[in-house]
């Protein structure tokens, strides 16, 4: 009996050590929340998570640019890869809308989380470093809000005071399923104010350059900098119709206040492998063979004829001078429009994203050409008469593509409006297939004309400014989850 008792005792002792062994398990591949912001390195790594949020293939790594293009008239979705979006026929449960919404708020959530983490652990950082990191978070948040408000709300000028519904503004880092996150949509004006505030703060606190200890150029082209914040501000003000500010922030970049930017000598100098970090790039979303969007999401697979998808063909509207009047027949940028291989030989595609094999084309969110054209347009609009400075910036972009045409002079234009038309036309050509066209039409209250259906042959009806389905539905699932706190867009 004594043996039995001592045997059982032994089992009990072994058991209690076993219990410890099976219960005290620390994950070997996860960083628990309480140790995520404990060192300056981890804090910075957690800050960078926001960029990774923007890099979502449903968002700025690809689809966000594509959606703006396919809603415009310069391309058609030959495989109906984007459903009824090009026909402005999304339904309220559209996965396109759902995914963009989720990706945008995911990026915002990452930024807010980092801000909270930096603030709570600021003692571990120098004051300057903490400010700079928060500046990056605000940059990320502003970029996400800018794309979200343009996808989900009518343009700024839809109502006189931009009081129409925008998107919910989220600036809190949530830990639990907090009802506070169920916010109604702020007005478009309030959203633009928030975007401008974030970019302005970022502009003040961001670095111009990243330290040489890292890959300085790579960081400078892909993380927030003063230059990219200023360039973004110029675009935001342009969309808002505040041309004085649009001009100011573009001018600061052009004047080299935040580093040197210049156009490459060739029209395709900023595209394709090896060309992502040139002085023409202001801010891009990077990709690599190991961090790329899948075949069904990547820019090259959608745009290039050499991928397996080749969904997006260039429309005859873009190619014909009759419907794209400033696109000269010998414009060098036509060299970036190519015929497809084999059975696609009758169709035209863009060659801006050629890396179908590794799908590592960067998404060119802001190029220096855009800054020049924004400046040109803002200057032209704010100046009286036909402005020479605006023509100069327009020429900087256009001259690089000229063969037989001559550079513009004041005599080239009949009026100020004619100059603005030329600048808008140039913007359409230069920034084509980079996610601008549809929104550039909307911000000036223009209609979409000469748009072709997915067969590339049948014309669709004119899509007027202000049509309800120019914007995505608020995802029905989110409307439902909010118990209708989120107001659905008209027409859905």
């Amino acid at each position: 009996m004594r043996h039995i008792v001592s045997g059982l005792l032994l089992i009990a002792i072994a058991g209690s050590s076993c219990q410890k062994k099976v219960l005290d398990i620390k994950s070997q591949d996860l960083i628990l929340a309480d140790s995520a912001f404990t060192t300056p390195e981890k804090i910075e790594a957690a800050t960078l998570a926001g960029y990774d949020g923007l890099q979502n293939p449903e968002f700025l790594a690809g689809r966000a640019l594509i959606y703006v293009d396919v809603m415009g008239e310069d391309v058609y979705d030959r495989n109906q890869a984007f459903g009824d979006l090009p026909r402005y026929g999304l339904l309220s449960n559209s996965s396109i809308a759902q995914n963009v919404w989720m990706a945008g708020y995911d990026a915002i959530g990452r930024a807010n989380r980092a801000i909270a983490g930096i603030t709570a652990n600021s003692s571990k950082l120098t004051a300057a470093k903490a400010k700079a990191l928060i500046g990056e978070c605000k940059f990320i948040r502003a970029v996400a809000n800018f794309y979200l408000v343009n996808f989900f709300a009518q343009p700024y000028n839809f109502t006189a005071d931009a009081s129409h519904p925008g998107i919910p503004l989220i600036t809190t880092s949530y830990i639990v399923n907090d009802p506070d996150a169920n916010k109604p949509r702020s007005s478009v004006d309030a959203v633009y104010t928030a975007i401008i505030n974030d970019f302005t703060d970022a502009l003040a606190d961001l670095p111009t350059n990243y330290p040489a200890s890292s890959d300085s150029t790579y960081n400078k082209k892909t993380r927030g900098t003063r230059a990219s914040a200023s360039a973004f501000l110029s675009r935001v003000y342009l969309y808002k119709g505040d041309y004085a500010n649009a001009k100011k922030y573009a001018q600061d970049v052009i004047n080299g206040m935040y580093g040197t930017f210049a156009l490459n000598s060739t029209v395709n100098g900023a595209f394709g492998p090896g060309h992502y970090e040139t002085s023409e790039a202001v801010w891009s979303i990077p990709a690599s063979i190991t961090d790329n969007a899948s075949t069904n999401y990547s820019l090259p697979q959608h745009y290039s004829p050499f991928g397996t998808r080749a969904d997006i063909a260039v429309s005859s509207t873009f190619l014909n001078v009759a419907t794209n009047p400033y696109f000269a027949l010998d414009d060098k940028r036509r060299s970036m429009i190519i015929a497809g291989p084999g059975t696609l030989s009758a169709l035209k595609f863009t060659n801006k994203y050629p890396d179908v094999a590794t799908r590592a084309d960067w998404a060119p969110v802001i190029r220096y050409a855009e800054v020049l054209l924004t400046y040109a347009e803002a200057q032209a609009r704010t100046a009286t008469g036909i402005d020479a400075d605006a023509i100069d910036k327009l020429n900087q972009v256009r001259n690089r593509a000229l063969v037989s045409q001559l550079p513009y002079t004041i005599a080239s234009f009949t009026s100020k409006d004619d100059l603005i038309d030329h600048i808008l036309g140039e913007r359409r050509i230069e920034l084509a297939f980079e996610g601008h066209r549809f929104w550039d039409l909307m911000r000036i209250k223009a209609a979409v004309t000469n748009k072709y259906d997915s067969d590339g042959q049948k014309k669709l009806p004119v899509q007027p400014f202000g049509a309800p389905k120019n914007v995505f539905p608020i995802p029905q699932l989110e409307v439902d989850k909010s118990k209708k706190v989120l107001e659905q867009n008209d027409g859905y």
């Binding site: 099976v22 219960l23 996860l30 960083i31 495989n79 790579y218 960081n219 084999g342 042959q457």
Partner: protein, 1033 residues
């Protein structure tokens, strides 16, 4: 049984004991009911230690004391007999086998109990029910064998999901497969995905090693497994040697697999016609033409049946050699098995070699030790091109590939062009034969499952048992995409290697006290501890741009780009458990059981770690009552009822902890939140009431009826939360929601006819189940399946059956104009005209413009759920002279399947090949059809999920037919074997169903609860014809 053991010990003691003087010699022969000698039967003088065992011919000779009065003769699995001794010296007799049914022993968790004393709901499936069946894994053979156990084989592909649901779905988003315990070892299961193909861990076991499977269903039975018991438990017992019976068996079968069904798609001519009609009706130029493939200036009217190209008859073979036997002290069972199952798809197969050794040894009369071990190696050759909807996968590839182009080009290489078609839209299907032949994904898995135990007899009735268990598996996967075609083209070919390890160890200790107190009280008390630890890890490498494709290596010398990584493989947890049970019986009439287990799971926060799982049950054996005496036809009748709590341990990877994980932004490393965490996360609780009747009528008809009502509280859900919270994928694991499952199960086993040499037995089971969602989250949201975001056809909605279909209502094709019509939420019939770009939607009744049909027009189709209302199986066996036959049927009624396969094959806006159904398209006014008029890009009706694609799934399947013939003794004796049986067999022979998709059981979403019943281009099931031999020495 106890008596028997005692007598065995006595005889053993005798062998070593002193001989007793004053004896006389008795002799005799012990035979069984068939007249066959019984070897190693024990012959003991009652009340003494004097005894012996019989020889191989059944004879014995024993010196007994002169005063001996009674002999006890017994053998394993026989009813012991007592013989009064007289003056003669020859005492031969025939032993009767132990009676079946109520006297069976049932394994319940850590204990065994006589079936008559059982108070819970347990179904037992004997190994022979699965023997010789050409299944890829034993779980497939369980189909239709036990009441309330639904086994759904998703496809005929090796490794594809076998979804087992006991009493319906028990959870919404967190698993639902039962716990499987093999000889006390909790085994790794499930259908997991390592690279692109799934595999079924249960395929690594040899079905022929299985002696029996007990299915624990009610809380009384499952609560002893506490937190892992909610979805039921399958206890597998492997074969053990029997003392004194040396056996060698060799069983084989050989045959072939073929596709059980083939969907019909268009031939070349019909394809050209249909595509061109679609185009010209929409005012576009025709585009589908035959071309001049061989450049001889003439059009080649090619007609390729791509399914025929990639399908073949796959070889199936199985060889199983088993030996077993032992002495009174030590028994052993050993087997080796080779199983090969080539799929009906070319270059797809599963091969398994396994060996098992089970040894039990009674070292002393107070110590017994043993090991049960198996090692297996399973090689799966799978499609490198993927399955389902992937462009190069099966069946998408062969169903959608252009029928008007050839397999091989004139240059002798696989043809990769598009023939004479002038343009193709959304056509990404690479040559299906080429991808089937050139690309592959091979998995080579090794698995060791073993346990070692020691059992001490401490004092009379008190036993201590300690057992250590391990389930270790590793797999090496080599996936290769050729540079010529499909996913590898453009990247110069890709190779991916994945090496992974999964390990579970556990250790349990039990104290078991079994005592008869007086004549009236029977007591069995069990207490135990168990510790379980599970880990997993992987190493992954890939290379793109292959220089030498034949070399199985990945490095910078052989590849242009290499990369990879390693880490944990989503399993890393531990469980500490303490449990106990009390079984009490009064006069064998009134039975009570109480079980209790407490589990602590490492995955919960420290404060919510412990879960408590009690259960209790009562039973009344009515036939023991005097008033039942007159009812002669009722041999046994037991009423029982139970109530208890179990939990669900399928809760994910560190679900409670808020945690960050590394990621990258291009070349920049970072960390990002991967789980918002929930410190308050606690156990899911399943409260189950069960009432049942077990009866044996007219000697051999056994009937079991159960009613159950199970409520699941605190469901752990990946709760879809507002995106504005900023949580990854907008989900957070929370305890929300309630489910209720109610049902009735019936199992009947009866000899229908015993006349002369003809026997006919039927085993019938049926289960009626209804699982209703009581609540989802605090918002009452609809929940969709987490596994496949695009499969949003069914939902969990409070007040509705689980997984109920939620779709727009299809209202047919307008006979007047051929337009597809739908009902909006208010029942207005609307039609869609793609040709009208400004007002595509009009009301059918007056043609006036109206709003579009959209997601708000979806309705809950209350009676249309993917879970059958009634399901079960019928097994019949026939014997006539030396012939035997069996017929296994499976049925499921009252459920619906979403035919997304057909939906895919009817699209009007792409150049892929189409279902033959498209030939029924509307052509002229007044025509009644369900296929709208052909109009290119008119895709609303195929792009929109509607009841157009919802079909009744009801089916009756002939799962297995086997006919056997056993050679007569006169021949077997001459060739010195004890048994030779030949058989022929057909499996999955035919399915009676109105369903028109791949299969009514096709399941594309995998291990799911909400998203069952979605048929989206999974491979067909296979039909198998085999013949074989059973040989016994």
């Amino acid at each position: 049984m106890r008596k028997l053991l005692m007598s065995l010990w006595c005889s053993l003691l005798l062998l070593s004991g002193d001989l007793i003087a004053q004896t006389r010699t008795l002799t005799g022969k012990v035979t069984d009911a068939n007249g066959k000698p019984v070897a190693n039967a024990s012959v003991v003088v009652k009340g003494t230690k004097v005894g012996t065992i019989t020889d191989t011919d059944g004879s014995y000779s024993l010196n007994v004391p002169v005063g001996a009065k009674m002999l006890i003769i017994s053998s394993i699995n026989m009813q012991p007999e007592e013989i009064k001794l007289g003056t003669v010296t020859d005492y031969s007799l025939t032993l009767k086998p132990l009676e079946e049914s109520m006297d069976e022993v049932v394994i319940v968790g850590y204990n065994t109990i006589a079936k008559r004393s059982l108070t819970g709901s347990v179904s037992k499936v004997n190994g022979d029910a699965m023997l010789n069946r050409p299944v890829m894994s034993f779980d497939q053979a369980l189909t239709g064998k036990a009441a309330g156990v639904q086994v759904n084989t998703s496809s005929g592909l090796p490794g594809d999901d076998v979804v087992i649901r006991i009493r319906g779905g028990a959870s919404i988003s967190m698993g639902g497969n039962p716990l499987i315990v093999l000889d006390g070892v909790p085994i790794t299961q499930g259908n997991q995905q390592e690279l692109y193909n799934k595999y079924n861990a249960l395929a690594e076991l040899n079905p022929a090693d299985i002696e029996s499977i007990e299915v624990l269903k009610d809380a009384s039975a499952t609560a002893i497994y506490g937190s892992r018991g909610s979805a039921g438990v399958l206890l597998i017992t492997t074969k053990k040697g029997k003392a004194g019976q040396s056996n060698l068996t060799y069983d084989n079968y050989v045959g072939f697999n073929e596709a059980a069904r083939k969907l019909k798609v268009l031939n070349g001519a019909d394809y050209n016609n249909t595509i061109n009609k679609l185009k010209t009706n929409a005012g576009l130029a025709p585009s589908a033409f035959w071309g001049d493939i061989d450049n001889d200036g003439k059009i080649d009217t090619v007609n390729t049946d791509w399914q025929k190209e990639v399908l073949h008859k796959g070889l199936v073979q199985n060889h199983n050699l088993a030996v077993s036997g032992g002495s009174q002290r030590t028994t052993y069972f050993a087997s080796v098995n080779y199983n090969e199952n080539q799929s009906y798809i070319e270059s797809v197969s599963q091969k398994r070699g396994s060996a098992r050794l089970n040894i039990t040894s009674k070292v002393t009369d107070w110590l017994q030790i043993g090991v049960n071990t198996q090692y297996s190696r399973t090689k799966i050759s799978n499609l490198g091109s993927g399955v389902g909807t992937s462009y190069s996968g099966f069946p998408f590839g062969p169903l959608t590939a252009l029928p008007n182009i050839p397999v091989m080009g004139p240059d002798g290489n696989y043809y990769t062009g598009i023939g004479g078609n002038t343009s193709v839209t959304s056509y990404q299907t690479p040559n299906p034969e080429a991808v089937t032949q050139l690309n592959y994904e091979d998995r080579d898995a090794r698995r060791f499952i073993g346990s070692a135990f020691g059992e001490l007899q401490l004092i009379k009735g008190l036993k201590f048992k300690s057992q250590v268990n391990v389930d270790y598996s590793s797999a090496f996967i080599d996936a290769f995409w050729d540079k010529e075609i499909g996913d590898g083209s453009g990247t110069g070919g890709i190779r991916q290697l994945d090496d992974n390890v999964k390990n579970t160890w556990s250790w349990f200790n039990t104290l078991n006290y079994n005592r008869q107190i007086g004549a009236d009280h029977e007591l069995n008390v069990l207490a135990g501890t168990e510790y379980t630890r599970r880990t997993s890890s992987f190493v992954y490498t890939f290379g793109a741009g292959i220089n030498n494709p034949d070399l199985l290596m990945i490095n910078d010398a052989n590849y242009q780009e290499t990369g990879g990584g390693s880490g944990m493989d989503k399993v890393d947890d531990g469980l500490a458990s303490y449990f106990g049970s009390v079984n009490y019986g009064f006069r064998k009439k009134y039975l009570a059981t109480f079980n209790f287990r407490t589990d602590a799971d490492s995955r919960f926060g420290k404060d919510n770690r412990w879960g408590y799982f009690p259960s209790g049950s009562l039973a009344w054996r009515v036939t023991e009552e005097d008033f039942m005496r007159p009812c002669q036809f009722v041999n046994d009748l037991k009423l029982r009822a139970s109530y208890g709590v179990t939990g669900n341990s399928n809760i994910g990877y560190f679900p409670a902890q808020r945690s960050f994980a590394p990621d990258t932004y291009g070349d920049i490393a970072l960390i990002t939140l991967q789980n918002p965490g929930n410190a308050d996360l606690r156990w899911e609780r399943h409260l189950q009431f069960d009432a049942g009747i077990d009866a044996v009528l007219w000697k051999n008809t056994s009937v079991t009826v159960d009613f159950y009502n199970r409520r699941t509280l605190d469901l752990i859900l990946n709760n879809p939360v507002l995106a504005t919270l900023g949580f990854p994928y907008s989900i957070r694991a929370e305890n929300v929601g309630k489910l209720q499952s109610r049902g009735i199960e019936l199992a009947v086993s009866t000899p229908v006819l015993h006349r002369g040499n003809f026997n006919w037995n039927i085993n019938f089971n049926a289960a009626w189940n209804k699982t209703k969602v009581i609540a989802t989250n605090s918002m009452g949201d609809d929940l969709y399946d987490n596994n496949d975001a695009t499969a949003q056809f069914s939902i969990a909605r409070p007040g509705q059956p689980l997984g109920v279909f939620y779709l727009i209502r299809w209202a047919g094709v307008n006979p007047a104009n051929g337009l597809p019509t739908f009902l909006d939420i208010n029942g207005n019939q609307k039609q869609y005209d793609r040709a009208n770009a400004t007002t595509p939607w009009t009301l059918v009744k007056d043609g006036s413009a109206t709003s579009a049909i959209g997601s708000t027009d979806r309705v809950v189709l209350k009676d249309n759920s993917p879970y059958p209302k009634i399901y079960g199986g019928i097994t019949q066996t026939f014997n006539y002279l030396r012939f035997d036959a069996s017929l296994d049927l499976q049925y499921a009624l009252g459920f619906y399947v979403y035919n997304q396969t057909k939906q895919n094959l009817m699209a009007y806006g792409n150049s892929r090949n189409k279902s033959e159904d498209i030939l029924d398209a509307w052509t002229k006014a007044g025509e009644n059809t369900n296929v709208p008029r052909l109009y290119w890009n008119d895709n609303f009706w195929t792009n929109t999920a509607s009841t157009r694609w919802l079909e009744k799934g009801d089916f009756l399947r002939i799962r297995n037919v086997q006919i056997g013939y056993t050679l007569p003794k006169t021949i077997t004796e001459r060739i010195k074997v004890s048994r030779v049986r030949f058989f022929v067999q057909g499996s999955n022979l035919y399915t009676f169903t109105g369903y028109t998709g791949i299969d009514p059981e096709a399941n594309s979403v995998g291990q799911t609860n909400i998203g069952l019943g979605i048929d989206k281009l999974r491979p067909y099931l296979s039909r198998t014809y085999t013949m074989g031999i059973n040989l016994g020495l």
